[in-house]
């Protein structure tokens, strides 16, 4: 079946602009995660959705970052007033939410470059 998809694959924007990044999880997966991977680092957790609600947003770096999942499927990560330090690959993952045995499946990521 289809995996996690993310659009766009690349996004170049100017400092101060607003961007939206989209994630389509695997069909039937109720849990959705966003991570951010900076150059030379492993992915860092941003936010977790269980259904439509953000159950854990402890990884969002500041209030310029926001994410939604209005119908419990597709999610959008929104970044306001982008800064050069926001440049990274933004990864989305989904899982069945089976609890302790859950496995997260990752999408290809969106590479965001802020000029």
């Amino acid at each position: 079946g289809a995996g996690v998809s993310q659009t766009p694959s690349n996004k170049v924007t100017e400092k101060g602009k607003y961007v939206e990044l989209r994630c389509d999880p695997i069909s039937g997966h109720t849990a959705l995660y966003w991570y951010r991977q900076s150059l030379g680092q492993g992915p860092e957790f941003l936010i977790y959705f269980q259904g439509t609600g953000a159950a854990d947003d402890s990884g969002l770096p500041n209030d310029r970052f926001f994410a939604v999942r209005p119908e419990g499927s597709v999610s959008t990560l929104k970044i306001q007033r982008t800064e050069r330090g926001d440049s990274a690959v933004y990864l989305c993952a989904s899982s069945r939410n089976e609890g302790v045995t859950d496995t997260q499946y990752f999408g290809p990521g969106t590479r965001l470059t802020v000029l």
Binding site: Y35, G40, D56, T103
Partner: protein, 115 residues
Amino acid sequence: AQSVSQHNHHVILSEAASLELGCNYSYGGTVNLFWYVQYPGQHLQLLLKYFSGDPLVKGIKGFEAEFIKSKFSFNLRKPSVQWSDTAEYFCAVARLRDSSYKLIFGSGTRLLVRP
């Protein structure tokens, strides 16, 4: 600080050499452990995972890992590497006290296998 440490940032091997990549974590309590791999130009894929039971787990493509609780380690091994194993490898931990099961990643190890 609590973290996941991967000791080797870059490893270069010749084909047929044996591989061991180190991973240590510093969290107390029960954890789930994962190794993910990212081949050039591809997205993160699960290699293997440990939830409970036999501490020696086998994954895809001949990889295995051993969980040593007393050492807080989960090292990845392969007896004989191939050129196609060239990739970046990430160790990750999910703390069961985090109801989101968010993953905490190490910084990764880049493996280059020379033919």
